[in-house]
Amino acid sequence: MTVGVVVFPGSNCDRDVRWALEGCLGLPVTYLWHEQDSLDGLDAVVIPGGFSYGDYLRCGAIARFSPVLQALRHYAEAGGAVLGICNGFQVLTEMGLLPGALTRNAGLHFICEPAELRVSPGRCRWLQGYGEGESIRLPIAHGEGRYQCDPADLHQLESNGQVVLRYAGNPNGSVGNVAGLSNAAGNVLGLMPHPERACDGITGGLDGRALLASLGR
């Protein structure tokens, strides 16, 4: 199996994701430059964190129009496994593959710290390695991670079981404590925390391993 990791100008967690997948979990990785328009033969695609296209206009707004994401839209709609981490989550909402938007943190600060999360795996295929209500700890590192959507949409997402990760302490002011969302089918996950930074016991715990390792099963 092979996992594709998208690389935009301005991505900066692409190598971390590769290290976590290949170095920690033994899953082969190939980089996908943003101008590439084929995802043939890939078992999953990860949109990593960073500042795609310098975060110009809005986080993820320019990335949405790149050839690799035009291909990714078809890939996701056909049921392919897609994971968007941090800037990748922002990109998925800009594309409309996940609802809502990520906005400036309520306290204005860039927050870089471990965050306690509650997992509700539901149908999300990336989270089947965790139990319902399990508490995990993953690093967050973002300035624009405050999830925003209309109350009616939030209610719909909650009753649909799509709010799969919630902050225990809500560091950024997200509505509904949303830290991560799945699409209705469960093949697309977007989250602000960084599971790839929690796959090696030496550098930040192991709570992200089950998420990334779910690909290998």
């Binding site: 909402t93 809502g100 938007a101 405050r146």
Partner: protein, 90 residues
């Protein structure tokens, strides 16, 4: 083909918290301007667009505003279009 000058004003929707606007309002008070009751930060995009006529220019600018320049989940936009210099040619 005439060139239309346009200005797109993008604002956060009223229901969306604007922490940067609140911080700026607090700074206005420190500057000694006590009366600022509301301050919201948006952005303005100025552009020049070649189009065969005004109706086409408007529909293209609306597409740009709605699908690229603003994110309608969190932002509203408004559009000003100025006639090309010398008036529109048929």
């Amino acid at each position: 083909m005439p060139t239309y000058h346009a200005r797109v004003q993008v604002s956060l929707r009223p229901s969306v918290l604007d922490p940067a606007g609140e911080a700026t309002r607090a700074a206005a008070q420190r500057l000694g301007v006590e009366g600022v009751r509301r301050l919201r930060i948006g952005k303005a995009i100025e552009l020049e667009l070649e189009a065969p006529d005004r109706a086409t220019a408007r529909s293209q600018l609306e597409l740009l505003s709605d699908r690229l320049l603003a994110n309608p989940v969190i932002e509203d936009w408004s559009l000003e279009i100025h006639e090309p210099a010398g008036g529109e040619r048929p």
